[in-house]
Symmetry: C2
Amino acid sequence: MSENSVLIVGSVALDTVETPTGKVERALGGAAVYSSVAASFFAPVKVVGVVGEDFPKEHLDFLASRKIDTKGIQIIPGGKTFHWAGSYEGDMNQANTKITELNVFQAFSPELPEDYKSSKYVFLANIDPELQLKVLDQVPGAKLTACDTMNFWISSKKDALLKVLKRVDIVFINDAEVRQLTGITNITRAASVIHELGPKYVIVKKGEHGAVMYCNESMCFAAASYPLEEVTDPTGAGDSFAGGFMGYIASVGEITDINIRKAVIYGSTMASYNVQDFSLDMFKRLTLSQIDTRYDEFRQIVHFESMI
Amino acid sequence: MSENSVLIVGSVALDTVETPTGKVERALGGAAVYSSVAASFFAPVKVVGVVGEDFPKEHLDFLASRKIDTKGIQIIPGGKTFHWAGSYEGDMNQANTKITELNVFQAFSPELPEDYKSSKYVFLANIDPELQLKVLDQVPGAKLTACDTMNFWISSKKDALLKVLKRVDIVFINDAEVRQLTGITNITRAASVIHELGPKYVIVKKGEHGAVMYCNESMCFAAASYPLEEVTDPTGAGDSFAGGFMGYIASVGEITDINIRKAVIYGSTMASYNVQDFSLDMFKRLTLSQIDTRYDEFRQIVHFESMI
């Protein structure tokens, strides 16, 4: 049963977000939530996180409705859920953080329920790399492991992060973080340096410019971003990307070069849908047929030989 | 004979360029030179420009060796050639201009030799849009016309530029210029606005992030950039792109959607080779077989379905 399920560990949050098109207050968010819901369109998901007693039950019901196993989400009695507030302007490539109230997330220490430990596909969303290592210790039989990270850990916990990179198969990382981690401006060369640190696949997320993947000693794949005329809220785009990627690869089970490429496109598809509305609102109404349609559009957008 | 030749009008210059990897002084440059040489790998080229008496004969000999018709390059007795000096740092996406000595280029007024006027493929490199209009008046039978422009003309000669856009089939423009021209941050929406101004194809150059093309009411094509681990000198990348594009499309003659896409990839190929050395040095040793190899690599880089 756990064979093709995806284990996801990370933040569960309430987000207050303002963009040029609107605002939401204490809406469902968090890296583990975005990635779990994105993955759930393709494969069963088991999620690990922590919330406070204030976390609305409707959110847990929504995750359950997506067949996401939420028993790994600890509810701390009397505690308050992680709350992030931020805004986006202009090209919306960067968030301006206004409030970070870690609350119960501050003491988060991921303990996997017994039946989670046989998970074959593991995504370590952006959390303290020491906790990522702790999770890896609990899934010795994993077939494919991936992590995300952020600027804060690169500067404050680099040693632990390097240990994580040595142990994961895939790292999802954005272009600014690639430069920060390596001190190299050229993304291709920087990605090759990260590849040497351990991960077989280095997947660089570039927002509106798509994603590039470094593998087998070379930059092997470039994916365009979907050409949206309006982005409503970019929060969770990277997590939706990783979730769609992991869910798809778990659903096919075979980790081949071509499947990894397709997984990048499914990841791009999920990210592009996610940013079309606030919070998880777009995923709440998204259908499999819409996912297939956009995947096909990605083919149309990049091909330059006659299609058969 | 003129059937499949490309007419190119623009600057011929001597460039002093400094990058993190080196420096050249008064080396061959100019938009018309980069684009003509790039186009010459695919089709016959006729170039129009102006130089001073100081312009080294070896440069004209080089252009002639590429079968470029240079009788449209006026040599002004006693005049000095346009000289540009600049440097690039960091991600090299932007030039820091140090010197712009227009010299004979200041009074440039393109008069086409009689046998140039039947040209079917016309590329108006970055010059005063009023001069671009003057060229368009001289090639009434053109089958495909394209222009480039820059921030200076967008702010100082917007009306003339809008007239050019109404009359050309294709505009090559970079992402910053797209935003400047439209006042819109979202590139997809901004490109759709430029599309409404006239050009059937709006090709947005994004440097290290590749290029996207807007056509038929939608963003129809996205091309990755070639993943170079080192860029030696980005000068002339956009012009090489446009030249490769125009040369290829002239060589096939049929302006179809698929040929336009291939032309973008050949443009990307020429741009990526050009930046691997200073001035035109890479083009001086480039072979057709190297061009084919890189074109195939672009296919490898973007495909995500099994290749046949």
